[in-house]
Amino acid sequence: MGIDFRARVGALVPPILALFIGLSASLIIAAVVGESPLKVLEILLSGALGSATKIGYSLFYATPLLLTGLSVAWAFRAGLFNIGAEGQMTLGGVAMAIVGISFPDLPWIVALPLALFAAFATGGTWGAIAGWIKAKRGCHEVLTTILLNFIAYGLASFLILSVFKNPESQVPETAMVGAGYQIPALSGSLGNLIGGTSPLNLSLGFSLLMVAVYGFIFKRTRLGFYQKIAGGAPEVGRFAGVRIDQQTILAMFISGGIAGLAAVSPVLGFAYKTREGFTGNVGFVGIAVALLGRNSPSGIVFAALLFGVLTKGALDLDLDTKYVSRDLATVIQAFIVLAVASQAGLSSLWASLWPSSVSRIGRTAK
């Protein structure tokens, strides 16, 4: 019991330490360029959490991060590194728009599941291409997913600008989706109590639900079991009769599918159309979310919320400081990721504080 508790606390230490290191390093930089670190911190916090609307925006920014983080985490669990969430999300958004424009009159009960299904299938197919190449031809998924991103951008651009363009606007965007597809902002329905006047919408609930489903799948189901084997012990699985190549393709399909779903908040919950470049690097930040959250459901929620808060809080930096801009948020994120990456070092530091846990490992080592 004591060991278990220790291990759990131990698991919490690296991400929190990483957050601490990332934040302090960035604040030191702020101090170096002549801004009071305390003031910067205060602006960050009050900008992100200072009112119902601000909290709403923070949550709104966190929503797609939950899903892209989940997407990357799923792939990680299966031993794959999906850098293609950005492209998969882009195509997911395009798929939503295409469905929403092609069948505009569907009632929401049909429309929303249809749009979500289309986004999942499209993003998933895009991911599965990389999975298939990996399983059958052995080409590393990092390479293929990066390259597929570029193809995805081009394809999305073509569909947005040439096939489903919004005739009323000069912005590179599709026409509006039908009314049944539009997820209303929470503010309208609950009198600004939740989310204030922000575009926060029910996709947050949907995303959290997906995180919970992810947790359940990996804890309790055969699918999660096979995916974990493919990631953690592929040879064991191979000899036990698990078709690892199939699991790899499936993992990339699901990972890509989840990334496709990440478009739900920006497309169906906010713009009601798909703009070129609407993803805004959310797919890449998802990698940081998965790393910081260590692929665990609670960790992903924590990391996505944190990054949402940082994104929103940093917007006010432009306004309220002289010498730092919102780019500081990216710097903080990068420092956090670096700190997480060196977590092996942090863990051993932690282990050295609890020598007995070392000996347990030492005993079995030959």
Binding site: R220, R222, A233, E235, F239, G241, R360
Partner: protein, 519 residues
Amino acid sequence: MTSQPILETRDLTKSFGSFTAVAGVSLEFATGQIHAVLGENGAGKSTLMKLLFGLHRPSAGEILLDGEKVSWRSSMNAIARGLGMVQQHFSLVDTLSAIDNIMLGAEVCRGPSLVGKLDRHEAIARLEKLLPSRSLAVPWDALVGTLTVGQKQRVEILKLLFRKSRILFLDEPTAVLTPTEIEELFSVLRELKAQGRTIVLITHKINEVLHICDTYTVLRAGKMVTRGSVSTVTIDHIVESMIGRKLPDFSVDRHPTTSDMVLECLDVKEESRAGRRASGDDGTLSRGKLNDISLKVHAGEIVGVAGVEGSGQSHLVEVLFGLRNVSGSVKILGKDVAALNSRQIRDLGIGLVPEDRHHQGLWLDESCFTNMVIGIEGRFLRGQIFQFRDLEKTTAEWARDFDVRASSLDLPVGRLSGGNQQKVIFAREVSGRKPKLLVCHQPTRGVDLGAIDLIHRKLIELRNSNLGVLVLSSELDELLKLCDRIYVFFEGRVVCEFARASFDRMRIGAAMTGVADGH
């Protein structure tokens, strides 16, 4: 013989936190003798060696070399003072010649050291002066990658001689050798001894080693249990000290073989094109490729496959489990497996204890529970969802069948001892899968003596309950003890087949090196 030991330890102790790996060990290695340090995995042998070589600092106690107290600052000190070690896994550069490997790090140069010309002739001349006889020589100019395992081991020993080592430590020297090579090694060791060098063999293979040693020291759980002169001890006594209890007598208890065929391979041959599914090991030498393999396993018999490692055993296992494409026919329980995928083959009722426990057999980070359901998780699923209560109850019973000893089955299996890890695999593949055919590849490698005994008994028991068992092992003694029939593999072919009545250690050993003399 000599009154003063060359190397001595007094109450040597090493603790890691609350765990004591070596507890008050006092040893004496007399000059010019061969010493055996025996002990199971985890008994403290490697920690002791690391202390002697300065890789760990002792928590207490002292080390004496030539009667004088030493305190190593690093392993460089120990090596400079004449200690040398041949690791179980060789550290050689395959793409360099033997002489270059021997010189590496202690080069003989003409001219300034960095830009000077390597003087190989001088090095060879020096070496040959050191050699007790020609038997230790290797082809100096041959690339190490082309040498046999026995020759590579000699290169390692020569490296030590070249560096003027006085005490040679050999870690599990026989593990990778064929019986003939073992004999060659022993004659080399005797010659070195005659030269006055001190040799320490670290091993858990008592039978093979003991007869060339002068003294033995047994470690158990970090403590020195017993030591003495080999001439006055029985093997049973040493085994008992190593495992801390007496092993009951082992009886193979013959049992009539039925005629039901559980496995039949006919003319199994690997196509020249690399199999599509064999992406795991493209570096395998062509000598491991299967070439017209035909073999049979009946229900109720244990069939052994003997051979030097890499003679096709690993490929055969992959073929049986649908992981490698071949021509010819493989029938398991009467069904041709060519059209089946790996899962379908497994579901025919075939269990596997794979060669590489850590890589192919177990998922080390996961619990014993999890490991015991890999591949047979279906029976614990309702819908697609795991029923943990049933899973934990049932797998705990399986673990009891094989006497898995763990403080909790929730522990990551990587924290268990090698023997208990292997038992977890057996629990899964036998109690869990309830197979009709069991394939065991190196079933007792890196496993303690107690667990070996248990595994051997279980295999006999299974055979007697009419299971067909195929054992692939590089431990010839194990096969001789268990099997009803033995096939000998050499370079991917079956070179001979022996029935139990005609088992002969030396003849099988010769066949393993390609010297077949009929059946």
